[in-house]
């Protein structure tokens, strides 16, 4: 591995690698990365049809086949593949952030009541269920319509849609490509948060780095925002389960000899590859619908406590996806299937996919922190197109296993210590809180600093937590 500049490390192709592996990190983040990140990245670099390089973001850690924090683009015309492992089990897991004119002081005056109301309203944790029960035709409509479907059902407003990737609806979804099990897993889970590192967090804008971009994003210093981090729930998990198995079994018949079974993939131009893309896009719509319903529940809760709460949508962006995008390859536009596993799309200024009101500043890139630590809003940088197919980091990334975390912290103590710092945690599981203790994650500040210095995205604002509802 050799260094190119301060924050870019390159492993030249050897053996089966078709392209280089490129890591964005400073020395400390690189030291903290598990050796498996490099091994997995080199495996990704050996897949057919990969273009440019296999990339690892500054928050990369050991994942499944692909590292989490991995980006890779494939050209269908060059025999490129789509990988279920490269998207992950939590398809279209992502973050959306709502902005408001309420101030931190407004929330502090009602903090306990608001925390209680949100925890009471937002279904979270193991065994929780949503209010909706969808029939088969209704589920098909949801899987094809995404957030647009949810808005038509009365969850949120049409204004929200312009601030969601693909205006809230991913084209090319194929509900027929889903197993019965996938449908059954979603039957009671619409409008639920899930567990693990998923959360709904009330935050305030503690620092602004780029005033013009912050103004375009409606992020005013001292104002309250809400960030929701979750994905496609049981339906997406089951799509990942089903297709990982099918791709692993079918790989030899496609002439794919995988160094790691978890890299399971299929040619984009195969029946299996197309079925997976149809199922994955349906799961993406499920995630967008789910976050839209949660947004509605969140606004209702807020307005019962703070009647003036507006909560308009800043942006909604996913970080576990495969999307077909046009990218500049050696001066020529090529249509690529870009996998982002734990990485966030970060289109730069002027890109037509960015909502018009904020286009000149680039796409909002929403970076979740860990419970009790800061989150960030970044803006896509033009330079990211040539560095990472317009991709940036997605969060802090774990630095410690769940077991190590439960040995080191007790859930009650974590809750009490954060409360003493003015941050209220509401979770049905104290063990879950211990597993998600802030100290179990890398420093999100360092990750976003490096993302900025490497040219992947620009810092716009830092958000500090006030209330965190966790599963």
């Amino acid at each position: 591995m050799h260094r190119e500049g301060d924050y870019r490390w390159v492993i030249e192709p050897t053996g089966a690698m078709r392209v280089p592996a490129v890591l964005y990190a400073d020395e400390q983040l690189l030291d903290d990365m598990d050796d498996k990140v490099r091994w997995q990245l080199c495996n990704v670099a050996s897949l057919p049809g990969i273009v440019g390089a296999a990339y690892a973001m500054p928050d990369a850690h050991w994942g499944y086949g692909f590292p989490i924090g991995g980006v890779a683009a494939f050209d269908a015309d060059a025999g490129g593949v789509v990988s279920a492992g490269g998207v992950g089990f939590d398809i279209s897991c992502g973050v959306r952030t709502l902005v408001s004119k309420c101030t931190r002081e407004d929330v502090i005056g009602v903090q306990e009541r608001l925390a209680h109301e949100l925890a009471r309203t937002i279904p979270a944790g193991v065994g929780s269920t949503g209010r909706l029960r969808l029939s088969d035709p209704e589920m098909d409509a949801m899987l094809e319509g995404g957030a647009r479907w949810a808005v038509a059902q009365g969850f949120g407003s049409a204004d929200d849609l312009a601030h969601i990737e693909e205006q809230g609806c991913i084209a090319g979804a194929d509900p027929r490509a889903l197993s019965q099990r996938a449908r059954e897993r979603q039957r009671e889970e619409m409008g639920t948060l899930g567990s693990g590192n998923h959360y709904l967090e009330v935050q305030w804008v503690a620092e602004v780095f780029d005033r013009a971009a912050a103004a375009a994003y409606a992020l005013e210093p001292g104002c309250v925002v809400v960030s929701i981090h979750c994905g496609s729930r049981g339906l997406g998990h089951q799509v990942g389960t089903d297709y990982l198995r099918d791709m692993a079994i079918a790989a030899p018949s496609h002439g794919l000899h995988l160094p790691d079974r978890e890299l399971a993939c299929a040619p984009i131009r195969s029946g299996l590859g197309q079925r997976y893309l149809g199922a994955m896009r349906a799961a993406m719509n499920c995630a967008l619908a789910n976050r839209q319903i949660l947004t509605h529940l969140c606004r209702e809760s807020f307005r019962r406590i703070l009647p003036g709460f507006d909560g308009s949508l800043l942006y909604d962006v996913s970080h576990n996806i495969c999307k077909e995008e046009l990218h500049d390859v050696g001066g020529r536009k090529r249509r690529l299937h870009v996998h982002r596993k734990g990485a966030t799309r970060a289109f730069g200024p002027g890109h037509e996919a960015v909502p018009e009101a904020m286009r000149e500043h680039g796409q909002p890139v929403l970076i979740g922190g860990s419970m009790g630590t800061a989150s960030y809003v970044l803006a896509g940088a033009a330079s990211a197109e040539g560095l990472s197919w317009s991709s940036a980091c997605h969060g802090a990334g774990r630095s410690m296993s769940r077991h190590q975390a439960t040995r080191q912290w007790h859930g009650r103590k974590v809750v009490d210590e954060l409360a003493a710092r003015g941050i209220l945690i509401r979770s049905p599981s104290l063990r879950g809180v211990a597993e998600e203790a802030p100290g179990a994650y890398k420093s999100v500040d360092r990750v976003v600093d490096v993302a900025g210095k490497a040219g992947l995205a620009r810092k716009v604002a830092r958000l500090e937590p006030l209330i965190c509802v966790k599963g």
Partner: protein, 154 residues
């Protein structure tokens, strides 16, 4: 790969003394079951799966679910088995603490015994999204005992 072990004591099953453990994975967690046969190792891996969510000893065996699955090899059969448990846990809000597994000709037949999640009593830590192909292995160790393992996405 062996740091972060949380060895049994879990409940004693039909297979005999509990023999399972967790192993560390960066973001998630691995489960490993051992036994005198692949079937017993699968049963112990099932208990290790429950232990990711709650203490298996606190899960009563009040209801039984029958599970059947097939796969082209033993490793993918373990993947199918654990993911079938995840499916029933998710859709019926169940936790399991007792398993009877029979393996023959690439097919698994099993009964899983447990009860509905009680948030107060079980204090479930996390839901399992799925069993993955990462670190997936079913093998006979040097001592003759069978080991069945993989990483779970949580």
């Amino acid at each position: 790969m062996t740091s972060g072990r949380a060895r049994a004591p879990g409940p004693v099953t039909e297979a005999g003394t509990a023999d399972w453990e967790h192993f560390a994975h960066g973001a998630d967690i691995g489960v490993r079951g051992r036994g005198a046969s692949p079937a017993q190792a699968f049963e112990q891996a099932g208990i290790a799966l429950t232990a990711v969510v709650t203490q298996p000893a606190n899960v009563r065996q009040a209801t039984t679910v029958a599970i059947r699955c097939r796969a082209p090899d033993l490793e993918l059969l373990l993947y199918e088995w654990l993911n079938s448990l995840v499916f029933h846990m998710a859709t019926q809000h169940l936790l399991f603490s007792g398993f009877s597994v029979r393996l023959a000709g690439g097919e698994l037949e099993a009964e899983a015994r447990g009860e509905r999640v009680d948030v107060e009593r079980h204090a479930p830590a996390v839901e399992v999204k799925g069993a993955t192909l990462t670190e997936l292995a079913v093998r006979q160790d040097d001592d003759g005992r069978w080991c069945a393992q993989c990483v779970l996405d949580v």
